[in-house]
């Protein structure tokens, strides 16, 4: 396209009278991410940022998986000397941190960054520069942890880093500081994404998308983002207190000076339990989306599903103490937390029943995405039920901190989140790339993952009951745990191999996969109303929503809105509840400043583990970067 094709940039060219071809030209020139390195570093397109997030998180998944395989090799027999305790303790800490903070949370949020704006029918996420900033911060946090690990400076205190072990006296050196600051990086980034997601969902829904027409996945992301907003500050407080104790000599966790070691655990688990739901709730949204499409009917019990997601989000804050039953807290309190932990089984159960009822009342066709959802049922229900066992105070005291718990949370996290994520990968891959993934490889992937997973983790329940504590780098011969551990290691290798196959499928299908078309699954939600992959502006004209499954309701033609400017990044801002169009507001243009801000913030965090003065010296560059970020540049978006 040459400049001559475009009319002179007068103020306010509207899409009303443009034909499809010139509309496409205009929108492309307005919304496209510029080519070249500066363009790439300035990108604010939610799809571009989300792709970066997804790829980075997948790389961290592979790295965390390698940690796990290394640990499993060490544990494959009693008293093996493959790796010593110093490395082993770093391995499990870095494995946990990578999987929780660098893989699970970022990947569910990244999926949201990609899908939510498409599903609600808007052109970009709210606060796109904040979104870009969040990615850079996340990337620096991940690099920080992994470079530290490769320099033998990886945290060796577990992913929850209890004091006093992580405190100044028992963790000299920088390893515990690396833990604390990795937390800070990743939480800053998730909090930013959570706020952007909430505002996108509240204010940028397509005209007519009232709350009761919002897809279940969007509901799940909304609740998740709220949980992030209220849970993550707790761990930031905990890690900040810890780093203050370590670096400037505060006494917050030092019992000798009026501090308290359990305070850390309260703060950590006030975040840590909701964290599980931050990872799980988006997966429930994915399960809903896949089941609805594959059952070929709207969800059974839409309202019940929405209310259960909200209930789970709220209740998740009321059960952190069940991680602390062994600390000897008062009996009355313990019984309360038993009851509250059991309570959360009810909305979770309701969700499961509604999904099963949806499959019963539909016409299910089996495809790889649904296969992974079925795997989710098989594994997650088992994990949920062992969760009920852990909620019981006396029972917990036998299985707490053993391999039973290791089995339980892998059933819940891999079964509850990774299996749906894999299903989601097969389901939305055509939207991201325009090509289908190989179904044949997909089925192999599923069966290997399913068998490998159960072989690796089911026997751990038994090991735990037989007395094997978690986080041991070796175990004695005479306790008879050798064979079962060898079997587990075999399962872990199969599971790992299934992900190798998945990676091959991802790469192969990107070039050789069958072309997908706009809506390969004949699904009903708005992301399928645009091309695959979607154009930079998502929708040439913003859809008008009249039904929960807009594409099923409007088989013949899709109602759309006109009247937006095409020469500036204009969005429809709607009212929170009804989704009435209210304002035409400009979305921020690309900018390099979020990157600069992230560099300034990231360098400050990094430097601060060496001297507290870093916070003082880091402030001016951060301030400059933020001013550069917000100062208008005379672009049409600033008018």
């Amino acid at each position: 396209m040459s400049a001559a094709d475009l009319p002179a940039k007068s103020k306010g060219i509207r899409d009303t009278s443009l034909d499809d071809a010139s509309l496409h030209r205009w929108l492309t020139s307005t919304w496209e991410t510029k080519r070249g390195i500066i363009g790439a570093l300035s990108a604010v397109d939610h799809k571009v940022i989300a792709r970066r997030y997804l790829i980075t998180a997948f790389v961290f998944l592979c790295l965390g998986g390698l940690n796990a395989v290394t640990m499993r090799l060490q544990l494959s027999g009693p008293e093996r000397g493959l790796i010593g305790p110093d490395l082993y303790n770093q391995l499990f800490a870095v494995h946990g941190m990578t999987m929780m903070f660098l893989f699970a949370v970022p990947i569910v949020q990244a999926t949201g960054i990609y899908l939510v704006p498409l599903m609600v029918g808007t052109r970009n996420i709210a606060f796109p520069r904040l979104n870009a900033f969040s990615y850079w911060i996340y990337l620096s946090g991940g690099l920080f942890l992994w470079v530290s690990f490769l320099l033998d400076m990886g945290p060796d205190i577990g992913w929850f880093a209890y004091v006093p072990l992580s405190g100044p006296e028992f963790s000299p050196g920088k390893r515990a500081d690396v833990w604390a600051q990795t937390i800070t990086y990743t939480e800053v980034s998730s909090l930013a994404v959570a706020v952007a997601t909430i505002v996108t969902i509240f204010k940028q829904r397509a005209p007519g998308m009232s709350l009761n027409r919002m897809p279940l996945y969007v509901w799940a992301m909304l609740v998740t983002s709220f949980v992030v907003v209220f849970a993550m500050p707790a761990v930031m407080i905990a890690s900040t207190f810890l780093i203050l104790d370590r670096l400037v000599g505060t006494q917050i966790f030092n019992p000798a000076e009026g501090g308290d070691a359990l305070l850390f655990q309260h703060l950590f688990w006030f975040f840590g339990h909701p964290e599980v739901y931050i990872i799980f709730l988006p997966a429930t949204g994915m399960v809903s989306a896949i089941i609805v499409t594959f059952a070929r009917r709207p969800a059974f019990g839409y309202l019940a599903l929405v209310l259960s997601v909200i209930a789970v989000g709220i209740l998740s804050f009321g059960l952190w103490v069940h991680h602390m039953f062994a600390t000897g807290i008062a009996k009355v309190g313990a019984s309360f937390f038993t009851a509250s932990s059991m309570l959360i089984a009810i909305p979770n159960g309701l969700q499961i029943f509604c999904w099963v009822a949806t499959l019963w009342g539909g016409r299910p066709k089996i495809g790889t995405p649904l296969l992974f959802v079925l795997g989710f049922f098989f594994i997650f229900v088992a994990g949920g039920l062992t969760g009920v066992m852990l909620a019981s105070v006396p029972l917990d005291l036998q299985v707490h901190d053993t391999y039973f718990v290791v089995a339980h949370f892998h059933y819940v996290l891999i079964g509850g989140s990774v299996f749906p994520l894999m299903g989601a990968a097969y389901y939305w891959y055509p939207k991201l790339t325009g090509r289908m993934m190989s179904e044949r490889m997909g089925r192999w992937h599923f069966w290997l993952a399913f068998i490998g997973f159960n072989a690796a983790f089911f026997p751990m329940h038994i090991l735990g009951l037989w007395g094997m504590p978690r986080r041991v780098y070796t175990y004695p011969v005479d306790l008879g745990w050798g064979n079962i551990n060898l079997f587990i290691t075999g399962g872990a290798l199969v599971l790992f191999f299934s992900f190798v196959l998945f990676t091959i499928n991802l790469v192969w299908s990107a070039r050789r996969g069958e072309p997908a078309g706009d809506n390969p699954w004949d699904a009903g939600t708005l992301e399928w109303a645009t091309s695959s992959p979607p154009p930079s502006y998502n929708f040439a004209r913003i859809p008008v929503v009249t039904h929960l499954e807009p594409l099923w309701a409007a088989r013949a033609e899709l109602p759309v809105a006109a009247g937006l400017r095409v020469d500036a990044r204009e969005l429809v801002i709607s009212t929170v509840a009804e989704g009435h169009p209210d304002i035409r507001e400009k979305s921020a243009a690309p900018s390099i400043w979020p990157l600069f801000a992230a560099i300034a913030v990231g360098a400050t965090f990094l430097w601060s583990i060496f001297t507290p003065w870093a916070v003082v010296w880091g402030a001016p560059p951060i301030a400059i970067a933020l001013i550069g970020w917000f100062w208008p540049k005379g672009e049409p978006e600033d008018e």
């Binding site: 407080i237 203050l244 104790d245 400037v248 006494q251 304002i583 600033d638």
Partner: protein, 201 residues
């Protein structure tokens, strides 16, 4: 898929104030998460006060005067702050400029007094957990104070340039007013916890 133009949005306004604007919701989101941080930090302080039989751990009580002066200044700032909100909603540029200058001053004054609050705590951060918590609470609020004062000053400068003449910018002023209220309101419980709780317990 075929499309049909169902509605025309040409007549919608290009900015909105208060809860109509996404920025307002974003600000609210950040207030929610920062507020959670304040609540948890205060909770940690109360938790330590509860488990220690003698709190404030045999330290002298803080001198409340600098803190009280900051409190009075912050409370007084609410008046010009809300006048500024009205002017921003009217898009009245000369008054908004005056209001922002006044608010910048009302931001800097408590910061100056804040400098004297730290020594008035009568304990160092590394003496014991009580001292640590006082410094943490005061430090946490000071961070917010500095950030918002910086934000106000930049916005004031912006409103004196040609970029100021835009509905969005008046919306930004409105959000700045909103956030300043948050800074004032979060101070009140912290003021009580730092200066008065040790006197009552």
């Amino acid at each position: 898929m075929r499309q049909r133009q169902a509605i025309d949005l040409s007549d919608l306004p290009t900015y909105g104030m208060g809860s109509r604007s996404p920025t307002w919701w974003g600000t609210l989101g950040f207030m929610a998460l920062e507020g959670t941080g304040f609540v948890l930090a205060a909770g940690a302080y109360l938790y330590l006060a509860y488990i220690n039989p003698a709190f404030p751990l045999s330290a002298p009580v803080p001198n409340h005067w600098p803190g009280t002066i900051v409190t009075l200044l912050l409370l007084a700032s609410a008046v010009p702050n809300h006048m500024l909100r009205r002017w921003a909603n009217d898009c009245d540029m000369p008054k908004v400029r005056i209001g922002l200058v006044v608010m910048s001053i009302f931001g800097i004054l408590p910061l100056i007094v804040r400098w004297f609050e730290f020594p008035a705590l009568n304990i160092w951060w590394d003496s014991n957990a009580y001292g640590s918590m006082l410094w943490v609470l005061l430090g946490l609020h000071t961070t917010h104070l500095i950030t918002d004062v910086g934000d106000t000053i930049v916005l004031t400068a912006l409103m004196f340039t040609r970029h100021g003449y835009s509905g969005r910018r008046f919306g930004d002023v409105d959000d700045n007013v909103f956030y300043w209220d948050f800074v004032v309101i979060t101070w009140l419980p912290i003021y009580f916890l730092i200066y008065w709780l040790p006197r009552f317990s």
